[in-house]
Symmetry: C2
DNA sequence: CTTTGTGCAAATTCTTTGCACCAAA
DNA sequence: TTTGGTGCAAAGAATTTGCACAAAG
C-alpha cells in the first residue's frame, strides 16, 4: 500500500484512496486487467468507487507513464503495471493475455521519413493459441477426422 | 480488379462484387482505413453496400489471412492489405498511421512457458509524434515559454 | 434447391461527457 | 476558499446480432 502510494508520488500523481487502491491492484495483479475487472474487484472493498473514477484514474496513470495501456484486445483496453521490457501474447481462443520475453528492444527506424518522428512507446503483440488451447484444438481436429 | 479477385481466390475467399471492391480498396489504399472510411468511400460507387457487409467482409479477410487487422488505435480497428513485414507508427496528435520499417522479424520466445504456444501473428506498434506534429509541438512550447 | 452472402434495424458494449458534490491544501 | 478528484446518469460511438431477402452454383 505504501509502495503503491510512493510509486504514484514518484510519477507525479497525487495519491488518493481510489488511486492508491487501483495502483496497488495493478502492482499485485499481473493479469492485464480491464476497467471492468478492476472495478468489480475493487468495488467490493470500496463500495462507493465508480467506474468513471477507474477510467479517469487509469487514463492519468497511463499519461504519466506509471502504467501501460494495451490495445492487444480489439474490444477493450487492458492495463499493465509492469514496466520492464516485455511483449504480450493473446490467446485467440481463451482470450488470456500472457507476458512474454522480448530479448532486445525493437528499435525505431531512423530514415528519411522517420528521422523527425518522436517515438514514445513501442509495443510488441503476439497472437495465437496458448498451450492449453493449442492442445484442445489438436484433440478436436483428431476427433473430427475420425 | 482482376488482381483483387485472384488474390481472394488464392486466399480461399469466394469473390463477390462487394468483396472484390473492398479488397481492391485495401490494395490501393495503404492508409490503414477504418470500417467507416472504407464504407463511406465505396458507398459512392456501390450505393447498396451496407456497413454490416464491410464488417463481415473484413472479418473474413482477416480470418483467412488475406489482410491484417490493426489494434494500434484504441477506438476502432484499422485494416492493412499490405502483408510484407513492417511495423506501424501512430501519431498521438494527428492520429495518422504510418508504415515503418522493421529490420528483422521479432521472434516469438521459446521457453518453458511458451514452448507449446502456437504463435500466429506478431505486431509491432510505435506511438509518438510524427514529424509535422513534433515540430508543431516545439513551436507551441517556445511560444508558451516567451 | 440449397448454401452462402448481403443489408437493414435494433441491440450491445466500451468509453466519454456534463455536471454536481466532496476533499484536501 | 480554491483547486482538483470523485461519482452518477446520460450520451456517444464502434461493433455485433437477428432475421429476411438475394445470389450463385
Amino acid at each position: 500500500m505504501d509502495a503503491a502510494k510512493q510509486y504514484l508520488i514518484d510519477n507525479g500523481i497525487k495519491p488518493s484512496v481510489q488511486r492508491i487502491a487501483i495502483m496497488l491492484y495493478l502492482l499485485e495483479h499481473r493479469s492485464h486487467p480491464t476497467v471492468d475487472e478492476i472495478f468489480n474487484d475493487l468495488h467490493k472493498a470500496i463500495p462507493t468507487l465508480s467506474k468513471t473514477t477507474v477510467y479517469n484514474t487509469l487514463k492519468v496513470f497511463a499519461e504519466k507513464g506509471a502504467i501501460l495501456s494495451l490495445t492487444i484486445d480489439e474490444k477493450m483496453v487492458r492495463f499493465d503495471g509492469y514496466k520492464q521490457r516485455h511483449a504480450h501474447f493473446k490467446c485467440i481462443s481463451c482470450n488470456e493475455i500472457y507476458d512474454v520475453e522480448l530479448d532486445h528492444d525493437v528499435e525505431f527506424p531512423n530514415n528519411e521519413t522517420t528521422k523527425d518522428f518522436e517515438n514514445i512507446e513501442t509495443h510488441v503483440y503476439h497472437r495465437g493459441y496458448c498451450a492449453k488451447c493449442a492442445k484442445k484444438k489438436e484433440t478436436n481436429n483428431k476427433l473430427k477426422s475420425e
